[in-house]
Symmetry: C2
Amino acid sequence: MVIKKSKNQIDRCKSFSLHEDKINMAKKNMPHDDLIFKTGEFFKILGDPTRLKIINSLFYSELCVCDLSNVLSLSLSAISHQLRVLKQADLIKSRKEGKNVFYSLADEHVRQIFYQGTEHIKEHYNEKI
Amino acid sequence: MVIKKSKNQIDRCKSFSLHEDKINMAKKNMPHDDLIFKTGEFFKILGDPTRLKIINSLFYSELCVCDLSNVLSLSLSAISHQLRVLKQADLIKSRKEGKNVFYSLADEHVRQIFYQGTEHIKEHYNEKI
DNA sequence: ATCATACTTGATTAATTGTTCAACTATGAT
DNA sequence: ATCATAGTTGAACAATTAATCAAGTATGAT
């Protein structure tokens, strides 16, 4: 009763003509790969609890690596690695003072998008979180 | 010249008292783990080019799996897997009509956050994308 | 009943990723 | 100069993940 697909059969449907207009509309309005990719990279950075906690911590004041290690109860190394990711993506900036390196948010935009994300989740779960 | 750390030394700094106020402020205002985690999961879903392209495609009209396969030049299987991820996260919804399953955006919020993300990137790269 | 089309799904595989470990450098105090 | 503290970094390891493959189900036409 099992029908095996031939090796090189393309796993696509055949009804291109059916919704041709809608398909072309979607294709025409597709942003360039570069923008899609970079936007994805940006959201990916916000897709980690540790990084979100770091961002939230920096809402109130600049903090050094040591402070963040205390706030998140995570090793200096783990924090430092994540700070590098956040800095390379220009979500945060740093300033050196003696033995300390103080980190702060790069701009208001980060705060806004973070806020929108949490609000979306809150609404979605009926304020139960 | 190499000084080896003892096995169980904790990789944390010792200056808790230095920035105690700032640390407590950050701790006090930290959202619950559940909210942080779910927000992270949400952003993670937006952190993939294929899913972003699907979302962008659905900006203009509902589309079936086959249509999306055509728009993105990706196999039905790959599209279907991603649609499931997007649906489970309530970013899209579906409607069955005969042999077709039509997908559309779940709400305006998704559109807004996607838009904010791309705008952030565009600003950041000086409109060069 | 049979067949083609639309879609789904579980398993596999390759690539990516977050944390830890163990080292390193940088700075300031003694 | 030596030492302690603050921070960085590369390697390793486990966990996650996106696409493919090979099968499956669902629906409508003949």
